[in-house]
Amino acid sequence: MTTEKQQETVELLLNMGPQHPATHGVFRMVLWIDGERVVDVEPHIGYLHRGSEKLCEGESYAQIVTLFDRLDYIANFNNELVVCRAAEKLMGVEVPERAQYIRVILCELNRIASHLLFYGTYGLDAGAMTPVLYAFRERERIQNLFEAVSGARMMHNFFRIGGVNEDVPPDFGQRVRRIMGELRRGMEECDRLLSFNEIFLSRTRGIGAIDAETAIDYGLTGPNLRACGVPYDVRKDDPYEVYDRLEFDVPVAEHGDCWDRYWLRVQEMYQSLHIVEQCLEQMPEGPVMAQLRRIARPPKGEVFVHCENPRGDLGVYLVSDGGPKPYRVKVRPPSFCSLMPLKHLMRGCYVADCVVILGSIDIVLGEVDR
């Protein structure tokens, strides 16, 4: 009876990445789409795999810090901190208090820089082109400060096992206070431009929602988990450095959608400013480096240390055999975990939402692929 050609609709296979302006690096996802709807998605990573973990096995403890700089290349100080803390814990080193305060200040400033970058790129993902320029303008102030402190704008290699490389410049406090005022103004401007913009709200509210249980199941941490209503923050729950002496809020949202994740990060920036303020007040004088042998040789043993990165809970599993080089280093990258529920987040959304969702979980491919 049916003589006419049978017609059928097939899903279109859309290859997004690794060269795509909105995949934040060399991330690739294969989308099966039905019209504009995403039926399924398969993420592919590994395009930036440099074997950092393996490289660590052939490098001395001092050299490893440079490798960790390059994991999450947006939040270098936070990464340096975690590997230094791992070695210090294994060696039982007591870090001088001043060094701890310096570390916290730099890490929190780095968190602001990282979240500003998120803010900018997220605006870009949503199609607004100005936020990224405003955010970079503000970020520039922080980078300049980093340059004055560590000599490098991004790959600092400033933290050492047992402290920091050298004391901050004499005008450090003054400079930080000055840029903090500027940053606050800049952040408020960013807030005004994007946060409650109607189009932005309609693009992000209710999109890519994930509930707390699933999020924990997938191992999400950091702002992505807090957006679901779980107030898990390593700085509070497993305090390190001097965080237990500082007073700050952990912003927690509820719905776990894109806008919540965005909003949390914006709020975290203000909290970080608050932390930096307190640190500047409390910072004592004194040495910035513990008395150590020149070549670090942690005793045999193993340790797992985790810190709150801008992207979540960054952990390092360090196995030492007592030699000058670690036996095994395993990194627990928060972005890696954030990517796992991608299928869950993206199924059934629009193609345009894919970009917004991927932007909202704020991945750094250097850390995902290591």
Binding site: R137, E147, A152, E189, R192, L193, F196, N197
Partner: protein, 192 residues
């Protein structure tokens, strides 16, 4: 609607403010004093030779293996103008591989290497970034002149001071009477 208007005002306000852009090749933003550019070798004026003795510690500690060094016996030391027994003969840094971590500076015992402020490497040849001893010393000199660099351990590393001290140890009276330490005086050195 309200937020939309706020956003419009925010962007429009910038039309009346001064742009933040710096016109790069015409206008260079100031470099911070601690800025870590590419590593360069420093020059010891008191002896007229580089500080570097070619001890290879930087070569070994470099995370990216971007350096190569060879040492030789120091002729100036035999002449008594320097306290360095060995001196660098060939040194090469591949700046393309350098990651500007500063570990070489940290491990150097002779104040011989320093992160200079050189950072603009544009060129047409890939091998152009393989920098030889002569160039490294040139960049180092520029850095020394511009930044007023001071050696961290002059007694040990600056030839003039070290020789004077050596002499002081050997013949305290003579050293005290002579004001000019190193260059004018052919010291007996190590031959005794």
């Amino acid at each position: 609607m309200l937020a939309t208007l706020k956003g419009l005002v925010t962007t429009l306000a910038w039309a009346f403010r001064k742009p933040v852009t710096a016109q790069y090749p015409k206008q260079h933003l100031p470099i911070q004093p601690r800025y870590m550019g590419f590593p360069a070798l420093l020059w010891d004026d008191t002896a007229g030779e580089p500080f570097c003795t070619g001890c290879m510690v930087c070569v070994r500690e470099c995370p990216t293996q971007c350096m190569k060094a060879e040492m030789k016996d120091n002729p100036l030391q035999q002449e008594g103008k320097s306290h360095r027994r060995k001196i660098i003969e060939r040194f090469e840094i591949n700046w393309n591989r350098c990651i500007l971590c500063g570990i070489c500076v940290e491990v150097c015992n002779f104040d011989a290497i320093e992160m200079s402020h050189v950072h603009e490497l544009g060129g047409y040849a890939r091998a152009g970034s393989r920098v030889t001893l002569q160039e490294l010393l040139k960049y180092g000199r520029e850095f020394q002149e511009r930044s007023g660099w001071k050696p961290s351990n002059p007694e040990k590393n600056v030839a003039g001071v070290a020789l004077a001290k050596e002499k002081e140890k050997r013949q305290p009276a003579a050293a005290a009477s002579r004001s000019e330490p190193a260059s004018s005086n052919p010291s007996p050195g190590k031959e005794s």
